[in-house]
């Protein structure tokens, strides 16, 4: 063994050790200097840089979302407001035993057992200190139930917030729209800074068109945060500016009358004040409950709404395009009077059908046995198709379609609501551009005839129909339809009225011509042989109107139309337009009832109910 071969030399070993100790000391001092140098580099040389970084770490600027403005009717009644609602929230890090807590919530009836999987997923998607909403919109009973069980539900609490509330639900659903969570598409349209703290944005209708005013301006809050982003303390706060209140032209009673009138049918009602274009009623049915959508709809529930055969999300008043049918006949007559191709006294014989010269094709009248000898008054009153075939043929399509366009038909009216459809007033020029095949580009004389009774290619929206009717009522003076009456500053209460937008008037038409068609429309409701005289007789005002029936599909030649044989959804649409009082029109209304079959029997009562409701309110003592 090597051990025995050498002898320990204590003196040499000690000298060797001391030498090594000095080497180690030098090494230690070197390393210490390295650390000191590094500290100087970080704390002296780069101090400014790291100091700035540490400031940025701890202060976060948060937006304080503004309170959304109210929506009021023309009399100041609240149509949409913000109500405190109570949510059940759970903060995972404060819950001692999640399974036990969820079990108790189910046992007390605050949660449904089949929601648990979804709630667990939701909890898992949040940080442990973040409060997760496990149930929204608690009822008073739920709140009471929670209060009783609170000692056993550590980490669960009730949290209040402002949520959008629509007290009249479906009656104003399509007029007001709804608010819903901001999505990526919304963020492209709005200023992301202004919406930094906002959870919901107006999606459609009035909530969307006046979004900017309703939203207000956010405030700012400087918050001290920790590394996990939890707010510890508010350092500075500037208040948000609440959104403006929007006062709509709508009259709540009139709106509700229209909604009740349509009942369970599919259809739309639009009522306009002819003196200024203010929209007094705006209804589309079936509707949806905007409270439910604003509270947050599951994808499944939303899909169910979208796939509903009755299309409750579809705004028929704004975007539904229908052939106007006979409701355009007064305008056709006015065009002919104006262009001199017709006088009120001209007679046409109606034998139940009409044929163009040199053609055997028969254009049928709605009354197979015919109306006999018809003039302007009886032609409008009884809605004689043959009379208007003749009038349209003599007027010609170019003058006819041009005059209809002057009334605003076939084009968006400019209503202050997003997404309005234009519809269509056909003309030879349009047809050349609309079809690819040469054979289809030709305008046939027969197409002029059916345009004269509002059928064929022609499509209008209920808003356009109401607007055109208001134009007749105002004898050519035109206003852009407007939902907005005024905006109100919520802080000062100052009201800024909207000014009516005047559109180019139809002022070339002689007063006598207006009188002639208006008298015809008066006869429809309150004449001896008017198509809707049964309805008009019940009204305590002098009113004018016109019924219409729009074909959903073309019935084959000589085949008798049998409603019973056609599926309900294939039945004709029923339309009615009306205005009153005759001597000083205050309201013009258009009603469309899908598959309602008869304008006079189904649509007219709704139109008159709406008018009566509005006009009665204006009577002394009402």
């Amino acid at each position: 063994m090597a051990y025995g071969a050498r002898i320990k030399d204590h003196g040499a070993e000690q000298r060797l050790f001391l030498a090594r100790l000095i080497v180690a000391l030098v090494f230690i001092i070197t390393l210490a200097l390295v650390v000191v140098t590094r500290l100087v580099q970080l704390q002296v040389v780069q101090y400014d840089d790291y100091s700035a970084q540490s400031q940025g770490n701890r202060i976060r600027i948060q937006a304080v979302p503004p309170t959304r403005g109210l929506i009021l009717d023309r009399n100041g009644r609240v149509l949409a407001d913000n109500q405190a609602s109570f949510d059940l929230v759970l903060t995972p890090e404060q819950v001692p035993d999640l399974a036990d807590t969820l079990g108790r919530l189910v046992a007390t009836g605050l949660l449904a057992a089949d929601e648990l999987a979804e709630i667990r997923t939701e909890i898992g998607a949040h940080r442990r200190y973040e409060a997760v909403t496990i149930r929204g919109h608690l009822s008073d009973l739920d709140v009471a139930r929670f209060a009783v069980n609170r000692p056993y539900l550590e980490g669960v609490e009730i949290r209040g917030r402002l949520s959008r509330s629509y007290p009249y639900g479906g009656a104003l659903a399509h007029a007001l729209g709804y608010v819903s969570g901001l999505n990526a598409a919304d963020l492209k349209e709005v200023d992301p800074v202004a919406y930094a703290g906002t959870a919901q944005i107006g999606k459609v209708s009035v909530e969307r068109s006046f979004e900017e005013a309703l939203h207000g301006a956010p405030g700012q809050e400087q918050v001290l945060v920790n590394a996990r982003g939890r707010s510890l303390q508010t350092l500075e706060r500037s208040a948000a500016r609440p959104g403006d209140d929007i006062m709509l032209a709508l009259d709540l009673d009139t709106q509700l009358a229209a909604y009740e009138g349509l009942g369970s049918r599919r259809g739309a009602v639009v009522a306009i004040d002819p003196k200024n274009g203010e929209v007094l009623a705006f209804v589309s049915t079936p509707a949806f409950d905007p409270n439910v959508i604003s509270a947050g709809l599951s994808r499944k529930a939303y899909n169910a709404l979208q796939e509903d055969i009755d299309k409750p999300l579809f705004n028929r008043a704004l975007r539904g395009t229908y052939p106007p049918g006979s409701t355009v006949k007064p305008i056709v007559a006015l065009a002919a009077l104006h262009h001199g191709t017709l006088t009120p006294a001209d007679h046409v014989y109606c034998g139940g059908s009409y044929s163009l010269p040199g053609s055997s094709h028969r254009y049928r009248d709605w009354k197979p046995e015919g109306h006999g000898s018809v003039n302007l008054q009886s032609g409008i009153e009884q809605s004689c198709d043959v009379y208007f075939y003749q009038v349209a043929r003599e007027l010609g399509i170019d003058r006819l379609s041009g005059f209809m366009r002057e009334f605003g038909l076939g084009a968006a009216t400019g209503l202050d609501m997003p997404g309005e459809k234009g519809g269509l007033v056909p003309s030879p020029e349009w047809k050349r551009g609309a079809f690819k095949r040469a054979a289809l580009q030709v305008w046939f004389p027969g197409e002029t005839l059916i345009t004269g009774i509002g059928q064929g290619y022609m499509l209008v929206t209920p808003v356009q129909l109401a607007h055109a009717t208001a134009t007749i009522a105002a004898r050519g003076t035109r206003f852009r339809p407007s939902m907005l009456l005024a905006t109100r500053d919520p802080l000062t209460g100052a009201i800024a009225p909207a000014t009516p937008a005047v559109l180019p008037a139809i002022d070339a038409v002689k007063a006598g011509d207006w009188d002639a068609i208006i008298e015809g429309m008066h006869g429809v409701l309150q004449g001896a042989r008017g198509t809707a005289r049964a309805v008009g007789a019940l009204v305590p005002f002098q009113v004018a109107g016109k019924s219409g029936t729009a074909q959903v599909f073309t019935v084959a030649q000589s085949q008798k139309y049998k409603a019973m044989d056609v599926a309900e959804r294939m039945r004709d649409h029923a339309l009615f337009v009306a205005f009153g009082p005759l001597d000083d029109p205050k309201i013009a209304v258009a009603v469309v009832v899908e598959n309602g079959e008869s304008g006079s029997k189904v649509a007219a009562p709704i139109a008159l109910k709406v008018m009566t409701t509005y006009l009665r309110a204006g009577l002394p003592g009402a």
Binding site: V35, L39, Q43, Y50, S54
Partner: protein, 378 residues
């Protein structure tokens, strides 16, 4: 010359001196350690988020560690020399036991639960230098190749057992402790240069045997911004904390990085960053000076120790203590990869406090048993 008052003071000092001598304590080293512990307590109160619970746990740990130091100081180095191999074998046994049954804390198997939880690797921090000092003491120096090989085996067996836990930091420190002991014993320079060359050559190979998280730590040291919220987060936040402290610091309890919890592990491995943030460059330098004073006193004890066993033991314990300081402060300032080495005597948690103060107790024992040791040597 001597007033009665002076002599009264002298006699009081004399009582204290006699007490210290009886306890075999070394006044300069004890002063240094108490200064560090006092500063550590102040810092820890802030770094723990003013948690009285943690302060209590810390107080208990300090008390236990001080008791261990008092015991170690009174043990004659000769007894330590005899017991060293047994401690070493017991440590090895526990390391094997940990691998088989150990608790899993923070992703590694390091702990053993015997009423109190402790890490057997802590035993090895003392057992390895003790055993090496004994082996070197009994053989002629400078060490022969056979002796070097034997010493390497003594170092590497526990190192490997600790490295597979995996606890890279402790494994590296044990290699450094053992290496220091052999170096102080007079390891030939050709062996040293050879070993360094071997380490450099082995670097690429080491890369392949490292765990993924270990590789990540190395990579993030080179470019912390490559993964600012993941592996680079510790280094970035720690550098912000220290850098933003400036020369005089943000003040006690006022360090936003630490108080707002941007700084991870603020009361344990990264507590040096809290010092840098709240006490600035001045505080960090003051602590370094205290450390260097204690290390310097340890080296002085080594230089004046009576035999090879005590010299090598005192030297390697002192230098190892400095390694702890260096590795932790270099890691926290982003000079070396993040390895789990606490700041000695300051970091909360772990069992290293007991080990360290036991080591200082041994140093004091070596110093205070010098003449006594000569007298009673058998």
């Amino acid at each position: 010359m001597n007033t009665p008052r002076d002599s009264e003071r002298d006699s009081r000092l004399d009582i204290l001196g006699r007490l210290l001598r009886w306890a075999h304590l070394d006044p300069p080293m004890l002063t240094g350690i108490l200064a560090i512990l006092t500063f550590a307590t102040v810092v820890l109160f802030s770094a723990s988020g003013q948690s009285w619970g943690m302060m209590q746990a810390h107080a208990v740990k300090v008390a236990v560690a001080m008791a261990a130091m008092l015991v170690a100081a009174r043990v004659d180095p000769a007894w330590l020399r005899r017991g060293a191999p047994w401690l070493y074998l017991a440590g090895l046994g526990l390391l094997v036991l940990v691998l088989v049954t150990g608790d899993i804390a923070k992703g590694g198997q390091r702990w053993i639960d015997v009423g109190v939880r402790f890490q057997p690797s802590e035993i090895m921090k003392l057992a390895v230098p003790l055993t090496l000092a004994r082996v070197l003491h009994e053989r002629p120096l400078p060490p022969s190749l056979a002796l070097i090989t034997g010493c390497l085996a003594i170092i590497l067996v526990p190192t490997l057992l600790i490295a597979v836990q995996p606890d890279l930091g402790t494994a590296v420190l044990i290699v450094l402790t053992g290496g220091t002991a052999i170096f102080l014993a007079g390891l030939g320079w050709r062996y040293i240069t050879g070993a360094l060359a071997l380490v450099l050559a082995a670097m690429p190979a080491l890369w392949f045997v490292m765990h993924d998280y270990q590789r990540k730590r190395v990579l993030t040291l080179l470019d912390p911004d490559s993964d600012p919220l993941g592996a680079g987060y510790h280094i970035i936040q720690s550098k912000i904390a220290i850098g933003s402290g400036g020369v005089f610091g943000k003040g006690w309890l006022n360090g936003s990085q630490g108080q707002l919890e941007f700084l991870p592990e603020r009361s344990t491995d990264f507590i040096f960053a809290v010092i840098g943030e709240e006490w600035g460059l001045m505080g960090a330098l003051a602590l370094l000076v205290l450390y260097l004073f204690v290390v310097g006193r340890g080296l002085y004890i080594a230089a004046t120790a009576p035999d090879t066993f005590t010299r090598v033991l005192a030297g390697s314990l002192s230098i190892t203590f400095f390694f702890y300081v260096f590795v932790n402060s270099a890691m926290v300032t982003g000079l070396i990869p993040v390895v789990g080495v606490p700041l000695p005597l300051v970091s909360a948690g772990g069992t290293s406090m007991v080990t360290l103060l036991t080591g200082f107790g041994i140093l004091m024992s070596i110093h205070t048993h010098r003449r006594l040791g000569d007298a009673v040597r058998r």
